[in-house]
Amino acid sequence: MRGSPKRGALLLLIPAIVFILLLFLYPFGYGLFTSLTNADGSFTLANYIRFFHDARDLRTIGVTLGIAVPVTLLAVGLAVPLSYHMRRGVPGEKLITFFLIVPVTLGTVLVSEGMLSFMGPNGWLNQLIMALGLSSKPIQFTHNYAGVAISVGLQGFPYAFLMLLGYVSGINPDLEKASQMLGATKWQTFWKVLFPLMVPGIAIAFCLNFVMAFSVYPSAVLLGQPSGPQRVMALAAYQWAFEKFNFNAASAISMLMAAIELCVIIVVLAWRSKMYKGASIVGKG
């Protein structure tokens, strides 16, 4: 299928290229430039140096990773077995999918507001827990780490699940039969056949979820303690930009966020290529 495309066909790429230039490369380049200059517009590394010397800012890296990594692992980790069990369809699949999509369509703010009242000290959840005698006093789900993690997880999980469901239901069902006929139990078939074939999907789902979780902002503000334990990188960048009006410092934080995300993605993709060799090999079947 890979011939040299006709010259006219290349013109079709122009809208996409313009789109990428305007909406991605230009802002990114501008941000990079801003982070490397001071208010007068002359070149400096001070914005970065400042960040690493400011203990309050520096710890946002740990805080953000502390939310993003476990939440992403949990979301993808739950999506793998769930999508595996639903790969041939289950009764009520449409309904399950519907309820998973809803939090995504509602948007972060509405979900967070809902969680504040539902999971708050006087919310239904705590009333239920106390009525069942599971706890004598309300459990704190909001304005702490748990609140942020649950909110971010709720937003990310549907993406991971739907993506993996598409992936695993696309795997030829005869592969499972073949594995079983060769003597593998269901468990062995999962680990030796299905899981390796799901690895590319898992890697992509992890990357997307991680990036979304890492740039967490509204959840941290609404459901966490934004001034202290849940002061995430995005929040720090916001404060520098719109409370201290130092766009150069804010840009540097944004660039560091991008760099950390990139590092994590590289690690995940390296894991993927170690686990799955077949993907890079094409040829006729």
């Binding site: 594995s179 077949g278 090999i281």
Partner: protein, 379 residues
């Protein structure tokens, strides 16, 4: 491999809701036998195969290996413990594993030593003529090569029963024939008890010791390729093995003529004479005489290649008009209408010079005409 003498399938039935996919299926496989399930798509042949493997649970019936019951619908030995091997139409190779790793998959599960695995994998590769392909990945190979890997992956485990589900159907015509030869050679050499599923009568005839013809989940006939080909049990089997001309008619007379029976059949378009060779001591003769009384409804079946152009003395001769002529290299295939009759059509092969719209005479030897009781006409 645990040794055994025979595998018996007794009254195996599989229902999906209201639909019966496999109906009261009974057969016994001898060790080293090559048995083919033959039938059109949707006849239940693949379902029957999957039921025998245990991949599809059966609704009722029993499966035995000698005296060991492996399935009686209530309790069943799971597929991975039956020591059967299966080859799939779409190869079903593991795309993330190299050829070597694919073949070693089952050996690794059996926890054999590294050197033993190495030895058996390279033996298997040699057996399917794929030496040097060990480190390739399935996506880098042609369909024929992939299917050989799939076969190697099975036989390396020395299964008690090898099941092949339309293994050649995804290949092009040339490869199909090549791999068919190889399968036959492999069976001669390894003597693995084999069940082969196909819709292709040529494959069935070429490979099998016995053929099971299926229709709508029911066994129509079990017999050697020779029996199935020349003595089909009913119009369905006849149609499936090439008796393309099936005409309804009524017996006009049935006479004894020496060792044979001579029947005259009035069909819509012609009077057909059939000579049925049942010697006097043949136990099938009496029921035939009883069934083919004058006035009885019958179906005649004639192979296209048994019809010749021109009037032949002592043969059934009828006037036809050619309405479809297909060039097929060595000869033409002609579909013709028997003159003065809208219904009856003649299909014939190996006809050299008939052109569209031409009227001509065609003949068939009475000894080549099959007769079946009843009016059942093949689909």
């Amino acid at each position: 491999m645990r040794d055994f003498k025979r595998i018996s399938v007794r009254r195996m039935t599989k229902r999906f809701g209201e639909k019966t996919a496999v109906d009261d299926f009974s057969i016994e496989f001898g060790k080293e036998e090559f048995v083919t399930f033959l039938g059109p798509s949707g006849c239940g042949k693949s379902t029957a195969l999957n039921c025998i493997t245990g991949l599809i649970p059966i609704t009722s019936g029993e499966i035995y290996i000698d005296d060991e019951c492996i399935d009686d619908a209530k309790t069943s030995v799971s597929p991975e413990k039956r020591e059967f091997g299966m080859v799939f139409q779409n190869y079903a190779l593991f795309p993330h594993l190299s050829v070597k790793e694919n073949i070693a998959f089952g050996l690794r599960l059996r926890k054999l030593s590294k050197s033993e695995i190495e030895r058996r994998v390279s033996d298997a590769l040699r057996l399917v003529h794929l030496e040097g392909y060990g480190s390739k990945f399935p996506a880098q190979m042609s369909g024929g090569e992939q299917q050989r890997v799939a076969i190697a992956r099975c036989i390396v485990l020395e299964p008690r029963l090898l099941l092949l589900d339309e293994p050649l159907s995804n290949l092009d015509a040339k490869l199909r024939v090549e791999l068919r030869y190889e399968l036959k050679a492999l069976h001669k050499r390894l003597k693995l008890t084999t069940i082969y599923v196909t819709h292709d009568q040529t494959e069935a005839l070429a490979l099998s010791d016995r053929i099971v013809v299926l229709k709508l989940g029911k066994i129509q006939q079990i017999g050697s390729p020779q029996t199935i080909f020349s003595d089909p049990a009913n119009p369905f089997v006849a149609d499936f093995v090439g008796y393309k001309n099936a005409w309804k008619g009524k017996i006009e007379s049935l006479k004894e003529s020496g060792e044979a029976l001579a029947a005259s059949v009035r069909t819509d378009g012609a009077l057909i004479e059939a000579r049925l060779n049942y010697p006097k001591d043949d136990p099938r003769r009496a029921p035939i005489v009883a069934a083919f009384k004058a006035g009885a409804s019958v179906t005649t079946a004639i192979r296209p290649e048994d019809i010749v152009v021109g009037a032949v003395p002592g043969s059934n001769t009828f006037r036809c008009v050619a309405d479809l002529v297909e060039y097929q290299g060595h000869a033409n295939s002609v579909s013709a209408c028997i003159k003065g009759c809208e219904e009856a059509r003649v299909d014939m092969h190996s006809v050299s010079d008939v052109s569209f719209g031409e009227a001509f005479e065609a003949s068939v030897d009475p000894g080549k005409v099959l007769l079946f009781a009843g009016e059942e006409v093949t689909p």
